[in-house]
Symmetry: D2
Amino acid sequence: MKRLFTLAITIAVSCAAQAQEQKEYPKPEAMRPGMSEYWTPQPKVITPGDIKTDTAPSDAVVLFDGKDLSAWMNPNGEKAEWTVKNGVMTVDKSKGDIVTRQKFGSFQLHLEWCVPTGITGESQARGNSGVFLQDMYEVQILDCFNNETYVNGMTGSIYKQTPPLANAMRKPGEWNVYDIIYTAPVFKEDGTYLYRPFVTVIQNGIVLQNHTEIQGTTEYIGFPRTVKHGEGPIRLQSHGDPSQPISFRNIWIRPL
Amino acid sequence: MKRLFTLAITIAVSCAAQAQEQKEYPKPEAMRPGMSEYWTPQPKVITPGDIKTDTAPSDAVVLFDGKDLSAWMNPNGEKAEWTVKNGVMTVDKSKGDIVTRQKFGSFQLHLEWCVPTGITGESQARGNSGVFLQDMYEVQILDCFNNETYVNGMTGSIYKQTPPLANAMRKPGEWNVYDIIYTAPVFKEDGTYLYRPFVTVIQNGIVLQNHTEIQGTTEYIGFPRTVKHGEGPIRLQSHGDPSQPISFRNIWIRPL
Amino acid sequence: MKRLFTLAITIAVSCAAQAQEQKEYPKPEAMRPGMSEYWTPQPKVITPGDIKTDTAPSDAVVLFDGKDLSAWMNPNGEKAEWTVKNGVMTVDKSKGDIVTRQKFGSFQLHLEWCVPTGITGESQARGNSGVFLQDMYEVQILDCFNNETYVNGMTGSIYKQTPPLANAMRKPGEWNVYDIIYTAPVFKEDGTYLYRPFVTVIQNGIVLQNHTEIQGTTEYIGFPRTVKHGEGPIRLQSHGDPSQPISFRNIWIRPL
Amino acid sequence: MKRLFTLAITIAVSCAAQAQEQKEYPKPEAMRPGMSEYWTPQPKVITPGDIKTDTAPSDAVVLFDGKDLSAWMNPNGEKAEWTVKNGVMTVDKSKGDIVTRQKFGSFQLHLEWCVPTGITGESQARGNSGVFLQDMYEVQILDCFNNETYVNGMTGSIYKQTPPLANAMRKPGEWNVYDIIYTAPVFKEDGTYLYRPFVTVIQNGIVLQNHTEIQGTTEYIGFPRTVKHGEGPIRLQSHGDPSQPISFRNIWIRPL
């Protein structure tokens, strides 16, 4: 970190770098390195997971490890009834959405999803699903591999708000990885946003959303809405499109 | 994405959700789904890389693919003279820092680094290096596996500014992965920041910095400084600490 | 400024304030006051204006001082033809909008406007005008004294985006004062916003917009649009509503 | 507000404006004006005050109207003992700081202050005082009329952090007006900032701070500190410098 700085640095903190004044002004007193070194509090130690072996970080809440849906329920609080087989859970379109039993504020979420080989349909009717952050704000999931649709409805869009920066799809039959960093909103007492939610979305190692401000709820019809809320679950969507259902695996979350 | 909204939504856009007024006010006219669907411009299509096989995304500028240092030079513009062997490049402490030949604005950077097995030393004198964004702002690299130091100098800190959210180190001999999303600053004409730089740092899949605002240059001594600059290279540090040199591999960058 | 701090301050910079660790960690080295004192660059000295005597600050560009419309033109670059009388300029609805000859980036704008006594009409058809920042983003002007309308079209709204925090209208025949602090947007090369514009609006000493992010152009129909632009003039609107025309006086601007 | 848009607008919402694609994509369905008009909730109606007659807005909490110090106390909760005479309150340097009895979150604050004619001393020893927002963050008050000091300690500076954008002082014997818009910070559970405080400072109608992010406490010595806090009073400083004491009048605050 110690580094010789050869640039002509004129000023510091948030002062302006302007032309040299003729007048001689005092200079700040010299400092020593130890004055800007802080030892506490120590960040927590986490054993990282391994993407190559599908292990979660040591402090993560595992939402699906391939075995069962015990972390999930349907929105009425009843047993989640999607299919679990070979370490993978698959949407059952007759059963509707599922939500986590646990609620979350800000978090880092990892999930993997796969569009079935041989999927049919086009635009929004092809592998449509979505992950709702705090049950409110949808990051779109869709098979966008050789499938065009409106850009604010593509995979990785904040649905009907902000298109993704890129189309980083793997093809049907291959697993797509979502890494989502979500900062929960802060509301004023009157129910409006003091700070809106923000989200960073990375798909297969490619940034699709870089700390994007979410404008409000992700509505199918009309403008985003402001709805005051507290912590909320993660919701995975069982979409009514006629295409073959998509699958999920290796889902974990770290409250931030 | 279509979703029944059962919450009592009172208002929309950025209006406040307050108690129902007694008076009857007009309602916004009803909309249709197609009014909020935009088809252009289409995001570019990228074939993602694969962390499991160390391949870069199709649109990335590969900075080191294991073969040579052709993308790098020393700060004087001469040949970079670190060691390359077995697909890995290793710091040569007698040769000093290296910088990329190409300059960058905002970007997504992927790099992997490894502290040698059997490394000795403690605190800042143990596997010390760093990656300087635009040659200005250091994200610290240090062996923090069972090695305490000041927290604003830990691995993943914005050096001498912001400590990491966690310690996600792998042990010496194992590869650590950095994924860094960097938003370049915007300066006013007078040389002060209109918008400071921001950075998100993910180490081994764990968020260490979540869109952290960088206060200014990352100084060894004293306060951050404001130095107006344009695009700049990536710099990797050859630190003078007496410990064994660290290694890098699989480095690529995507201008954003 | 020197002040005894009696709170139990645990840590500093952006470190977390947590429960005391049991372990003894080093403390940052003590500093002296002169280390955080910077003398350059000195801010420019301005003689403030006086709201009581309608004088502008010494560094302001005076856009209307009661004498003539020399700082203005119509959008085609021809002579501005609104009425000037008794130190006041009044909209001529047959002549259309007027724009400043000079273009601006970020700025502080002061202007005063008055709805004529005896004005008629209701909702948007009563004293409707507006001030367009950089010819792009409208801060609404409307007689909202005992006149209801949609809230995102009220005086001080970012038109069709964000309602004002309050209704601070003076009654027809009295002068309303706008103090507007505007931060121009920054665009990416692809024409999207890197940073959207922000605006603070104060009417008659009451905050109506507190650093509100402007979502895009202020459209009469539909969603805000993203239109890449550089510096732009101030536009005052000659609205086609059938009510009596409003007047302006004491307009000045300070580029920031 | 209705306005003909003659620019070549390519896209909307937060989509990018790029070169026209050759391919024909669907266009969003046409909207009507009434779809983006919201009538509720109506903002509260406030009768503005008048700077020319020193009246406060109708919804303001009046902190000093020239009569007595009933809204204030010393930091120990005892009677505030500064001098009140002729509608003006003056620091009594033997009595120390005073704080409001009421605590506040975010707010708009108006206060006027006057350096006595014939004041002596220089740099920080000349009319030194300050207003502490939430008892934590000092906006500096100092006689900077023909009196140089370190810029991050000038009138309107965030003390020892951010210099003012200008020097807008009136001379000793004249009243200076502060209008301050303050957004309270939001803390994480661990005591660090989720969002730091922000402040806009206007002196005599001139912007000195435009939504400046406050880095932490405003320390006389060393770096800003992070101290978790809730609502807090306004504190006015009785500074120990040997110069003649300054005076205040017409103080009011509007919680936001």
